[in-house]
Symmetry: C2
Subunit: 294 residues, 2 copies
């Protein structure tokens, strides 16, 4: 997949936006915070939240695989984007609001990752080997259990006095759409069709990446902005920022290994576009800007 | 499974409740409405709601299997219980409120049914053959798409002016719990363990039936009562009523074929217990009572 991506039109988006970069592009006001500790500390916070929410308890046959598959699924930047966007739009007091949504985003990703790696009988080409601690039936069931658990966690967060139920419902709609039949599922279908036809066109590959990876990041940032009480302009700016962050990390994880110089140039352009989306927050402590660095 | 159920202790619940039936049991005030058309008309209403919510539209590769698997999944009484309980607690004006929740309940059941019948490689004993229109990968993906769609549908119903977002969030918690790791998923795990060990004990079989079938009915009735604005006593009475309805229909669909006389006697006892739960609604038009008939 990495090699194919390199040949693909995955970067069409950057090319179409190149005109925004020069020659009339003005220097940005927002300075990129390169402090990676912000990202790490948020990731630790989300992990701790999940550990409390999902202890290994009876029935062990259910919760042990749930715990294992939740914590071994690879991390994305979507949950951190959610917390950071909430903090940016709502200030310090809002950090806690986004914890349940950030946890739900990771759980949705973990459920999808688990099901994507099931040895289903008619998969035309095997995916790269993922170590399986449990049998396919248990992994199927566990993915089915993780998904509603994530949304339950979010719906239950209404119990916190400061939470607005309308905002939580809006976030549930955002997340279910991002992981559903017009989001992540659509991407997984197209990928399957691509595997069956054995034709990898750049356009289809772009579409699959957008649906499977990028949109979850955009959703994460938008959810954080909604919970932080951001206005519609702020929500859409942060959604777009999340979109760029998703593209940057997708590129770095997928095709960044061989032609480092080329990838670096392209991700740098995406970073400039990403930071431009944050300009409306001029004067605030825009810690979220560190998430578009490598 | 039907034969094993016969030997099992599935009916322990009735036996333990027998003392409540006689000799001090007083004649019930609520008369059972035996009009099946109430149930049928509600089922038609839910189907129409789902048809509008889930048209076959592009991308067809996604929506055609979603549509097919949603409408071919066997029906349960849980969605009808939801509408009927909402109508009972909230009057005519509340009927529409429960449509999204009823549709969500059917969608959760359809997603589970789809995944339960996947030909996963390590299933110890094959389930009874279910016709498959699509390959395992598409069915896996479709189940993954149906589940969030049901919850999105419910969360989106906040847009209707008369809906209370707190009630909708409470219903989301109810449904995600019923289908999640302490509800339906727990039952599916136990069933898998039972299949692996090839030991069917009555107690485990009871537990599996309770988790996989009965609790969804109880959840349906409770959700309807919540959306209808019922108080906590009414919600719990209707939850218990839904529980009995789930047991009755579980028995009739599972073991009612061979020893009709015995089953009839047992379901009749369950009906009496079920109707007892409705006594607090004396004086109202208790159409929901028809749902505990065969």
């Amino acid at each position: 997949m990495a090699a194919s991506l390199e040949k693909s039109g995955f970067l069409t988006h950057i090319r179409t936006n190149r005109s925004r970069l020069s020659p009339c592009y003005r220097p940005m006001v927002v300075t990129m915070v390169r402090n990676q500790s912000y990202c790490v500390s948020n990731e630790v916070e989300i992990k701790e939240y999940l550990k409390k929410a999902l202890p290994i308890r009876p029935p062990f046959s259910v919760f042990e695989p749930m715990h294992h598959l939740t914590f071994t699924a690879p991390r994305t930047k979507a949950p951190v984007l959610c917390i950071a966007a909430c903090e940016l739009t709502g200030g310090d007091r809002s950090r806690a609001l986004a914890a349940a949504a950030a946890a739900a985003l990771h759980l949705m990703h973990a459920a999808t990752f688990t099901h994507e790696n099931l040895p289903v009988t008619d998969r035309p080409r095997p995916k790269p080997e993922v170590p399986h601690k449990f049998g396919p039936n248990v992994e199927l069931l566990t993915g089915d259990g993780i998904m509603p658990f994530g949304l339950e966690l979010l719906a239950r967060s209404m119990d916190q006095a400061q939470n607005d139920p309308d905002q939580i419902l809006r976030v549930i709609v955002e997340i279910t759409r991002a992981i559903g039949s017009q989001g992540m599922i659509d991407g997984r279908y197209r990928e399957l069709e691509m595997d069956l036809s054995q034709e990898n066109t750049g356009r289809v590959m772009d579409y699959v990446c957008e649906k499977k990876k990028v949109e979850l990041h955009a959703c994460g940032a938008a959810c954080g902005a909604i919970l932080g009480g951001g206005d519609e302009v702020e929500i859409e700016k942060l959604r777009k920022y999340g979109d760029y962050v998703g593209m940057i990390h997708g590129m770095l994880n997928g095709i960044g290994k061989n032609k480092e110089g080329l990838i670096e140039e392209k991700t740098e352009r995406l970073r400039i576009l990403a930071l431009k989306e944050l300009e409306i927050f001029k004067g605030k402590n825009v810690l979220i800007s560190s998430l578009c660095s490598a």
